[in-house]
Symmetry: C2
Subunit: 219 residues, 2 copies
């Protein structure tokens, strides 16, 4: 008889809390970054992607309430680290905004999916739904392609920007895990040991490399 693994309920609330605040914050930042678009059509395209994040936010917050926790309290511990990540990776151009929308969100999605693989089935499918790409990848790949044709010299600074995003994302995630025992416990329990966290980061950086190549940039 196999033992059915029940994840720590507090860890599930932490996971949903950081994700929910991440969605609200992604909405906010993408809505802001859309202003840098070179045309009204592209501005609207990024604004539409931002708007979709609020649908994900609603589902995550409803789930937190369903589990008997307060969504505001669940999000509160993650406001500062998420805002710090965004403050340190504020795009200064349309190209940087596009790379961040794709690469930054891709990194966050990979990280959350890894953690979600250790929780119950229904939480996992909600997380997967919230992290659905909604066409951001295709949009960013196409529009970064347009920029690189117009000005091939942008490949070098945008590649550097991608490396900065991955560096910030990893150091912010490590800080979040270090400060949240429930989440750390979930990962250690799920992976078996702490050395597995190294392999987790390896998988995430491998997926990041693929995204940078898809954009035509150097990983």
């Amino acid at each position: 008889m196999t033992e059915i693994h029940q994840p720590d309920p507090a860890a599930v609330i932490d996971l949903l809390g950081v994700l929910a605040y991440g969605e609200l914050s992604a909405f906010d930042r993408m809505a802001h970054d859309a202003r840098m678009a070179p045309s009204t059509a592209l501005r609207a395209a990024l604004a539409e992607k931002a708007a979709l994040e609020m649908g994900h936010y609603r589902k995550l917050v409803d789930r937190i309430a369903e589990l008997g926790a307060d969504p505001q309290q669940a999000m509160a511990p993650f406001v500062m680290p998420v805002e710090t990540f965004h403050a340190r990776t504020e795009p200064r151009s349309w190209g940087e905004a596009l790379v961040k929308a794709y690469v930054g969100d891709g990194l966050a999605a990979d990280f959350y999916r890894e953690i979600a693989s250790y929780v119950d089935e229904s939480t996992r499918s909600l997380v997967d739904e919230a992290l659905a790409d909604s066409g951001k990848a295709e949009f960013a790949i196409r529009e970064v392609g347009v920029l690189l044709v117009q000005d091939p010299k942008m490949a070098s600074p945008l590649s550097l920007w991608g490396r900065r995003l991955v560096g910030e994302a990893i150091s912010r995630s490590q800080a979040v895990i270090a400060e949240h025992d429930h989440l750390a416990g979930l990962i250690v329990e799920g992976t078996g040991d702490l050395s597995a966290i190294g392999r987790l980061i390896e998988r995430i950086t491998a997926a990041h490399t693929d995204r940078m190549k898809a954009l035509g940039l150097n990983p």
Copy 2:
């Protein structure tokens, strides 16, 4: 035999163009104003209302394309007046943001509905849908009520703010009509004569008065 009135197709495109840009701009401004909310829950509530504007935007833009016009070109003449309205009515507090979300949008909706009453049925119902309130009124009335209970002295500056919004909205609308012959023609044709524009403004200010009272403010 009654003559079936066919509105000027260029006027319909103008109407849809100003409305579409208005929605994109409302999204942008409300997403930005949401940052002033006193809690994450209220911030998310305004962000969710902002996100709904993008659904309206999409329908208006699709309709412009259906009618054989280019959405970007249709919006272009209205970017400046809409942005000027927002730049002159930038909320400096959560209370001002709430009053603007309700009173400002209400004014715009009344104005567009008046004009839409002179166009064809299918355009009119699309405009009505785009202008659907989506719960903003209820939200603003409740939250302004909370602010006035906490600090009754805010009634006076917020009432002044409402008067500034209506003044700016009317002067911006008049400028837009004066500069766009198709729209002006639509109104003159629809109302019968130029003096009817005075009555139109009277109806709009009467509805504004009702909204200010609903907020517990002096019109």
